[in-house]
């Protein structure tokens, strides 16, 4: 079904390319989440995760 749908939309790609695209999107989402959780200075996020940041030893805080 997925193959048919992808073919119909003209999105048919090789398995390797599919893996790379999915991985890139996944890494982008993970990177964004990590940055927000461990690097953002937005007070609400910072204050909530302040101790977690310090607990990781290599994540810079203020």
């Amino acid at each position: 079904m997925e193959k048919i749908f992808a073919g119909w939309l003209g999105l048919g790609v090789s398995e390797q390319s599919s893996f790379l695209i999915k991985s890139a999107i996944f890494l982008f989402v993970c990177g964004t989440t990590l940055f927000v959780a461990l690097g953002a200075s937005y007070p609400a996020v910072h204050d909530t995760l302040h101790n977690a940041r310090h607990a990781l030893a290599v994540v810079p805080c203020h």
């Binding site: 893996f19 991985s23 890494l27 964004t32 953002a40 200075s41 007070p43 607990a55 290599v58 203020h62």
Partner: protein, 330 residues
């Protein structure tokens, strides 16, 4: 006198001067120790009692003199930053203390791991001078490394699972639009009001990464008398409930100044107690808030590169494991 004779004479004089200076410095012995011992100290764990003992060539403590102390924070690491990047390589303390029985003691809470440098210049009342630099390494708390290891394993596992899932379905690319917008307008805290009910204590508005001047002065009536006053000074990190710095009953005539870096962007209580014989003690207290600074990008990049690298590693491992199994079945 020929030129060569003059040069020889100048060399002899210079060598003599150098020898005299060295011998003079060797008259004083500077010893430094911490309690608990350095290998047991950890950042933001418990304050260490720092002790300097200045002894003469006969081994006896120097009776009177002053010691100029400078404490510098460890420099930045080769790859990873510590959790307080602004503190790295900065001057943490600079103060001048009078020796009491050849000793100078104070308490200090070390903020980060790494190699600290303690510079000591001693000058006795009879004019003898000596200098020495001590270096010592504070190790990171073991539980932090354990947490980092656990987090790293979790990221590899996340990538591994994702790698397996992505490998199973060789189909179309799915367009995923993400609109994550982050408004980071900094969180530098302003200095909060201080309850300066007694003007004996003055503190420069502190910012993390820069030493602030801390000044305590005796009352106008007492300054002219020349009698020493015992000053006790303490700086307490309110959020952690730990003493960051402490001096106990050091003899002061007149004023006392020191440079002190507030290493965390948090609230501190600075208390001073001046005691003079026959007079009621004078207590001053201030609550100050050290201004925090956003971590520099150069300190953040290695940590995030490491975390993303772990996920990539997991993705690769997951894909490899899936394809290996499929090949095995074939």
């Amino acid at each position: 006198m020929s030129l060569s004779q003059f040069a020889k004479a100048a060399l002899l004089v210079a060598a003599g001067l150098l020898f005299a200076a060295g011998a003079r410095a060797q008259d004083l012995e500077i010893r430094f120790k911490t309690t608990p011992q350095i290998e047991h100290l950890r950042p933001y764990a418990d304050p260490a009692t720092m002790s300097l003992l200045i002894a003469g060539s006969d081994g006896r403590p120097v009776r009177q003199g002053t010691v100029h102390i400078r404490l510098d924070a460890p420099r930045s690491g080769r790859f990873f930053s510590t959790d307080f990047p602004w503190v790295e390589g900065s001057r943490l303390q600079e103060m001048r203390l009078d020796l009491s029985q050849g000793r100078a003691n104070w308490k200090y809470l070390f903020p980060i791991r790494g190699q600290y440098r303690l510079g000591v210049d001693v000058e006795t009342r009879d004019g003898k001078k000596a200098s020495k630099e001590f270096t010592f390494r504070i190790r990171e708390r073991e539980e932090k490394w354990a947490i980092l290891a656990g987090f790293s394993v979790a990221l590899v596992c996340l990538g591994f699972v994702a790698g397996r899932i992505f490998t199973r379905v060789p189909a179309a690319a799915i367009a995923l639009a993400l609109g994550l917008c982050l408004a980071s307008d900094g969180f530098t805290a302003n200095e909060k009001a201080s309850d300066g009910d007694d003007a004996a204590l003055e503190i420069e508005p502190p910012t993390v990464g820069t030493p602030a001047l801390l000044h305590w002065h005796a009352p106008v009536a007492a300054t002219g008398e020349g009698s020493p006053e015992a000053l006790s000074l303490s700086i307490v990190h309110l959020e952690k409930g730990k003493t960051a710095f402490e001096l106990e009953r050091i003899p002061i005539v007149g004023d006392f100044s020191m440079k002190f870096e507030f290493t965390d962007g948090a609230e501190y209580r600075v208390s001073a107690l001046g005691e003079q014989a026959g007079k009621p003690p004078r207590r001053s207290e201030k609550i100050i808030s050290a201004t925090a600074l956003e971590p520099p990008t150069r300190a953040m990049i290695p940590a995030f590169a490491y975390f993303i690298g772990l996920i990539v590693l997991g993705l690769g491992a997951g894909r490899w494991s899936k394809r290996g199994r499929v090949r095995g079945r074939a």
